[in-house]
């Protein structure tokens, strides 16, 4: 409904605008025409001067030079009629002009034309001075109106204008409604298309081509959607089954190597080798798990176990777990939690968050074999909270850093950054953002969480 009001209002406004514009244009044309033609006319109204230039001297008439030139320049011919209707003087008189006139003739040509010649008359001391122009040079219209109709003219004009204006607006209104009605189906179709619903628009009229195009686009979109879904499912299923297939024999390798490791019948050297087999198998298992998780997160096939939890409690737990399991003094872990963030509750998958934090801390430990100090700081922001994890180790490699910060694609070199890529995925499925940075010495990972 908001749409229709907008369209109609816009239509009405533009119609009003067009009406006003037309009115102004017409007015300008009228005024310029009037001024132009009046400029053309003014010198012609010197008939009284010309008439005064004709003087009687005895039985002859003399015409002043000025009047004579005016007659030849501006008009064509002139004559003087005596009171009994005879031509007593003339200049350039055309042949088809009669030489005597009755009073009815005079009344007729004074109002209309004299043998199609437009003429003007002026009272002369010796009769009637008649000034003629060439044929078809002047358009004459005899105008007569009653006093009341002239008095009412402004009212009629004004009401005419108002009626014009109203008709324009009414038409605009009707066109607006028609436009909206035919557009509404198209809009609905496009909205449905955005929601990935199948659509088929059947519209006649000016939107027919548009509707057809939308139908075709919708079909194509649905086809691609299905294709993508099919591919994603296939890939996901494949990776799930492969990782399962790998994990089962791996568990057996780990189990047997672990028992061989404890077998006192082997020498110390041999037992160390079994230990290496076990720890490397564990790494493979971890890698397979990571691969599985990252693919599931990528295709949104990891069911999230959303619950409310204290993020500070989780961070403390992760830090303490690492501290308890670290048997090396090379690494130190420090946590600083601001008071406001102690009570901050987060809605999310606690296990995934724990995984993310473990990956970050584990990454710092794994890539800094000479030891490092890890410092975790939690702060409250107006919306959400910030967790910053810094270390003073070797930092990220440039390409890894670029890959982590810019793209949403999986890392190309799988041995590096898969763990952190999972962190990124986990944070983004929780609606947060993550920023990786290299410090002067060491690295910094900042998580912005708000929900």
């Amino acid at each position: 409904m908001k749409g229709i009001m907008k369209i109609i209002l816009r239509n009405v406004l533009s119609a009003g605008g067009i009406a006003v514009l037309l009115l102004i244009t017409n007015l300008i044309i009228l005024i310029s025409w009037a001024t132009y033609s009046s400029k053309d006319q003014t010198p012609k109204y010197s008939i009284s001067n010309i008439s005064q230039g004709l003087k009687r001297e005895g039985t002859n008439f003399t015409l002043s030079d000025e009047a004579s030139s005016l007659i030849t320049d501006k008009f064509q011919w002139a004559m003087l009629l005596s009171d009994d209707g005879k031509v007593i003087w003339s200049k350039n008189l055309p042949e088809d002009v009669p030489l005597s006139y009755t009073s009815s003739d005079i009344a007729s040509f004074s109002k209309w034309f004299l043998n199609d010649y437009p003429v003007k008359e002026w009272k002369h001391e010796n009769g009637l001075f008649v000034l003629g122009d060439s044929k078809n040079s002047t358009w004459r219209y005899d105008f007569e109106a009653t006093e009341t109709s002239m008095y009412n003219a402004p009212k009629w004009l004004l009401s005419g204008l108002i009626i014009n204006f109203l008709i324009a607006i009414l038409l605009a209104f009707l066109f607006g409604i028609r436009f909206f009605l035919s557009l509404r189906t198209v809009i609905k179709g496009v909205e449905d298309m955005a929601e990935k619903k199948p659509i088929f628009l059947n519209i006649k009229g000016s939107f027919k081509d548009l509707a057809n195009n939308i139908n075709i686009t919708s079909k194509e979109l649905l086809r691609q959607q299905k294709l993508i879904e099919k591919r994603a499912t296939a890939r996901n299923n494949w990776i799930t089954s492969v990782s399962h297939d790998i994990r089962t024999p791996l568990s057996m390798i780990m189990g047997y190597s672990s028992s061989l490791e404890d077998n006192k019948n082997f020498s110390e050297e041999e037992r160390k080798q079994f230990s290496i087999i076990r720890s490397q198998s564990e790494k493979i298992k971890q890698l397979v798990n990571d691969l599985n998780l990252t693919v599931k997160l990528e295709y949104e096939m990891q069911p999230l176990n959303i619950q409310s939890f204290y993020i500070s409690e989780l961070v403390r737990k992760v830090v303490v777990d690492h501290l308890n399991n670290l048997c090396d003094d090379k690494y130190t872990l420090q946590l600083s939690v601001s008071d406001e963030v102690q009570s901050y509750m987060l809605n999310g998958d606690m296990r995934l968050f724990e995984r993310a934090l473990n990956n970050i801390i584990g990454n710092s430990i794994k890539h800094n074999e000479n030891g490092c100090d890890i410092f975790i700081e939690m702060k409250k922001k107006t919306e959400g909270c910030i967790i910053e994890i810094k270390d003073n180790g070797t930092g990220f490699k440039d390409d890894v850093l670029e890959n982590l910060n810019s793209s949403n694609e999986m890392p190309t070199s799988t041995s590096h950054g898969l763990g952190l890529f999972i962190v990124k995925q986990i944070i983004s499925v929780h609606g947060g953002t993550i920023h990786f940075e290299n410090l002067e010495n060491g690295s910094s990972i900042v998580l912005y969480i708000n929900n």
Partner: protein
């Protein structure tokens, strides 16, 4: 609480875990109460409660019960 610490002897126990063990509730609001209880425990088991040797504080994280090796 001591039970929880003893079960994880040699390891750090977070203040949250202690809180849940003692009151089955989250930490929020219990921080000071927890400190008082730790102090009481120290008075019972430490020779010098102000300079603990067994029940150690891990700043910002939790407490650790260290039994002499």
């Amino acid at each position: 609480m001591l039970d929880k610490l003893y079960a994880n002897k040699g390891n750090i126990v977070t203040i949250d875990a202690l809180c849940r063990a003692a009151w089955d509730d989250n930490l929020f609001g219990y921080e000071n109460t927890l400190m008082v209880h730790i102090r009481r425990l120290r008075e019972k088991i430490e020779l010098e409660p102000s300079h603990p040797k067994y029940l150690l504080t891990v700043r910002g994280l939790g407490y650790k019960l260290v039994l002499e090796a």
